[in-house]
Assembly symmetry: C2
Homo-oligomer: 416 residues x 2
């Protein structure tokens, strides 16, 4: 049972060549069957045969079979959990995420384990197979002229159901408050009643009008999500109409489709990946952890920023997940740039100093309700938010900052 | 609370226009909050605003907002389950699955419910937005010259790690037994050591050689899964090299990417969709049911056949799911053709009569281990399988049929 050609257990020290190492939590094994079940899984997800084939040499098996680098049973109250590190030869994936994720999570029924994918790492020259982001936070700062502080992003609400002209009025209001970035809602694509090109044209006009008052032009991220070839058409139409940035829903849109957009248009558009739908993929004892699916994967695929659900201190488990995801987005990986973290969900002028303290200045703060829901309107909500960001960076308590900014004072009075 | 503009509850009789109706199981509500939580969900996934916007007319809201057609609490031992039918205006989706699934399952955190998507239906003229399969079982029968009986599909094993020339030897063996279709494993794409075009060329040669003995040419389904533009390149290369069919992993490859392949190449290739990875999407209290994700969706996207995990009688819950999925694949939906069900997983000459009795002749039976694992080799395994299919259709008990076919007898002796 311990021979490599029975089950491919292999010390990590022995790994040579280019591999992607998946780390899984595995459920449903026990001491009586774990060597065999894990062994079958490693075979089933790569070479996948239970019979010796004439012509399949030992060399081929060694080149293309998965390798179990480590397998450890973890003491657990309920059921046995195994932490498994399995190395996949990158040669099997042909440089695309569809095949990589099929191999990692497309379990053959005959060798299936209940697994949750919690990490991937790049061994040997595997880093070279991924381009990563072509733009960094510095490029975004130049684009938005926002230096030395978190950037602020607003989302147009309503999500859908309005025309570009109506949307431009909403855009104008928030832009008037000095917001750095405004994005479409993830639910609005290239619809018959509100096309990408029209939206870019109207919103850019609104951005220029607002800039006459503020001195800075808010950058618009237009949601181009569509089927792959139409998404490219949308990107081209957006660029022609003056867009500098865009939004892509990559969960249902497809990671490889987004990767192609990043490769083709990443020099002309600042590309933000949106996680909508990731809840389907990430569950307690299965699926793919957020640190992988909205952390590492969009980064490796070349997105420039990723929307990430903000989690406050009241939910320790989700907050662990939140910080793990941000680590995946920004920790050094060879030449692969970090992807900019954009946090959203319940962020207001009142709590953003805490986020700044935790995560630092190189983030995008998504502020929705606190802008549009400000008692004196969106422009005032935006101004209140920008004042709060300034105060956070300067270490000035919000109550003190509110004395200098009537809009922030109104926000504190309203939500404090 | 009961006004439409507070929460969009609407009797189904009042529905006019083109909608896609999603049916969900909803967890985590109770009688004290269910009207409000469901109402917020319906708003959040479509119009998505909590504030009245000047310029957003009542007409726009009515056109683009979701409508709750029904909401019923179901008595349940543990926690309350709600069955919710929510109608989405198709105008919001712009004809692609990425945006449709984002709206249905990309829950906004502020209005999120724990939901499982268990059905979708097309109301008004929504059927017209989907092309469905361009080829039917009749086209496949003409292609394979297999009439009046289930078709038999074999999968090349090993999955990966061999050259086209080595693979062609395996192909030849199974083809010699008269198998109708042979597909790549879902783990083998267009890799550096085994490219799509080379594989098609070698396997087609093998199919023609075998046909000199059998009188029929086995059709090869080559796995073209890749990033969207490369998948099109693979499809073109496959066609140029003589391919008549292909395989697409649509879960991680992307539904819209597969839909584009079906639209562009569906007249030249018989396209089989593979479910690998669907386990990530389908969990007990969340995600998307198989009847939707490997039933309706690939059918609406235009796949010609779908691999579907076979479930035997020993697992009643999964078997319920299996039959629901097959119903979704083949029940009449206007002009949209059925997608051919391909079942796989543990099918042998010994149990296929039962599957034929349950599902009928218009299916593809995927037989892997029972072909390659036959005591006298793959050609004999294939012959045994074809004999068993013939016996099943003619209603002849397998023991009796085994008297006429030594290969079937060997199979019965081995596994009976």
């Amino acid at each position: 049972m311990l021979g490599y050609f029975d089950y491919p257990y292999s010390r990590p020290e022995q790994l040579t060549g280019d591999y992607i190492i998946a780390t899984y939590l595995v459920y449903g094994t026990d001491s009586s069957n774990v060597f065999k079940k894990i062994g079958n899984f490693a075979v089933g997800q790569t070479i996948g045969t239970w019979i010796r084939i004439p012509g399949v040499t030992q060399e081929m098996v060694e080149n293309y079979q998965g390798r179990i680098l480590s397998m450890h049973q973890i003491p657990s109250g309920e059921e046995t959990i195994v932490v498994l590190r399995l190395a996949f030869p990158i040669a099997n994936f042909a440089g695309n995420f569809s095949m990589m994720l099929t191999a990692m999570m497309g379990n053959d029924v005959s060798t299936a384990l209940r697994t949750k994918l919690i990490d991937i790492e790049l061994a040997g020259n595997a880093i070279g197979a991924f381009r990563g982001p072509s733009q960094s936070i510095d490029d975004l700062r130049k684009l938005t002229k926002a230096f030395g502080r978190p950037l602020v992003l607003n989302m147009i609400k309503p999500c859908t159901g309005f025309s570009p002209v109506e949307g431009a009025k909403l855009f104008y209001e928030a832009a008037l408050g000095g917001i750095d970035l405004i994005k479409d809602d993830e639910l609005l694509g290239n619809t018959g009643y509100n096309e990408v090109a029209d939206r870019v044209r109207e919103y850019t006009k609104a951005a220029k009008s607002a800039a006459e008052h503020t001195g800075k032009e808010t950058v618009y991220l237009v949601n181009i999500t569509d089927s792959p070839s139409k998404m490219k058409d949308n990107a081209k139409a957006a660029i022609q109409s003056g867009a500098k940035g865009c939004l892509v829903n990559f969960v249902f849109g497809g990671i490889d489709s987004m990767a192609e957009i990043c490769g083709e248009f990443g020099d002309k558009l600042f590309i933000m990946a949106h996680y909508a739908g990731v809840g389907v993929m990430n569950w307690q004892k299965g699926g793919i952890a957020n640190s992988v699916y909205i952390g590492l994967i969009p980064r490796l695929a070349g997105a420039h920023a990723v929307m990430t659900m903000f989690v406050g201190e009241n939910n320790a488990d989700d907050r662990y997940d939140f910080f793990k995801t941000i680590q995946s987005q920004r920790m050094a990986i060879g030449e692969i740039k970090p992807v900019v973290t954009a946090v959203g969900g319940g962020i207001t002028p009142l709590n953003l100093a805490g986020i700044y303290d935790d995560i630092g200045k190189d983030i995008i703060l998504g502020v929705g309700g606190a802008v549009q829901g400000h008692p004196n309107g969106a422009a005032c909500g935006a101004k209140a938010t920008m004042s709060a960001v300034k105060a956070a960076v300067e270490g000035i308590p919000i109550e003190q900052a509110a004395k200098e900014c009537e809009h922030l004072k109104a926000a504190v009075d309203c939500w404090g």
